[in-house]
Symmetry: C2
């Protein structure tokens, strides 16, 4: 699943590059495209009273990008169960092969007919998720990361 | 360090709640407020030709919030070294004590006088960072997380 967009002027910050939060907006829009693709587009969400919520996201910022840059987000499925799907996404500038950013997200399927609550995917939706491109966790270069300073460099851990 | 804002109508998505990326925007604006506080405000950035870049961010989405909600983001320092600062942030609605979201970020200090490159904090800035409120990693409830499905639930890991 590929999502394409362009860096808008209002997404650029005082550093002259795409603000960190707007990388996340591009991933969020790519997730919308993924939802459209598996049958949870606007019509599907209304008819089924089902949607996806984001539970957790981890973004790695690898390179800066500037206003008007063409952006391509590639989305693959790491794993899924009855109610959740774990996505791995990489962002590229133009048609280059070196990523400018990577993002993992855990999404939860939600019954929105009343107070939002988790629900199993409908069978046809689950089948479409299973048919999406996948990536093994070991091949998802920036997945599974924990944020932290190297222990020896940290002012907290350092003895002096 | 506390940052306050209000959920704008354009930050609400088709689910009727604050879109995942705009939680990240609130954290980004809270980071700006942190920068102002340690001397890397707009004037400081220009005079010193120094700034912060985000290297990595991890967000936990705990509760949904709606348009016009008052938001409070509390930022504390987990650790820092000569060039980096590890922040832990929690977001609350109004004056409630239960967080709606949490975020860790690793920030890198950047010399922006030419092509951006990492640089040691100036001494006065380092002293201000050291004077900010801190939190031990063990007390930062949503820090240090890795995204993943429970192994037994995963369609990838399950034997059948």
């Amino acid at each position: 699943m590929i999502y394409r967009d362009t860096v808008k002027p209002e997404w650029v910050d005082y550093n002259g590059h795409l603000r960190d939060a707007f990388y996340m907006l591009l991933y969020s829009l790519a997730t919308d495209a993924f939802m459209d693709h598996i049958g949870l587009d606007d019509a599907g969400r209304r008819a089924r009273q089902r949607t996806l919520y984001t539970l957790e996201a981890h973004i790695s910022y690898l390179r800066e990008i500037k206003e008007s840059a063409s952006v391509r987000v590639e989305t693959r499925v790491v794993a899924h169960d009855k109610k959740r799907v774990h996505l791995y996404m990489e962002m590229f500038e133009g048609e280059t092969a070196e990523s400018v950013s990577a993002c993992e997200q855990m999404m939860m399927h939600i019954d929105s007919s009343g107070a939002p609550k988790s629900a199993s995917f409908d069978e046809d939706i689950a089948a479409r998720i299973a048919a999406e491109p996948t990536v093994a966790l070991k091949d998802a270069r920036y997945a599974g990361r924990v944020i932290g300073l190297p222990v020896r460099a940290s002012s907290v851990a350092a003895p002096a």
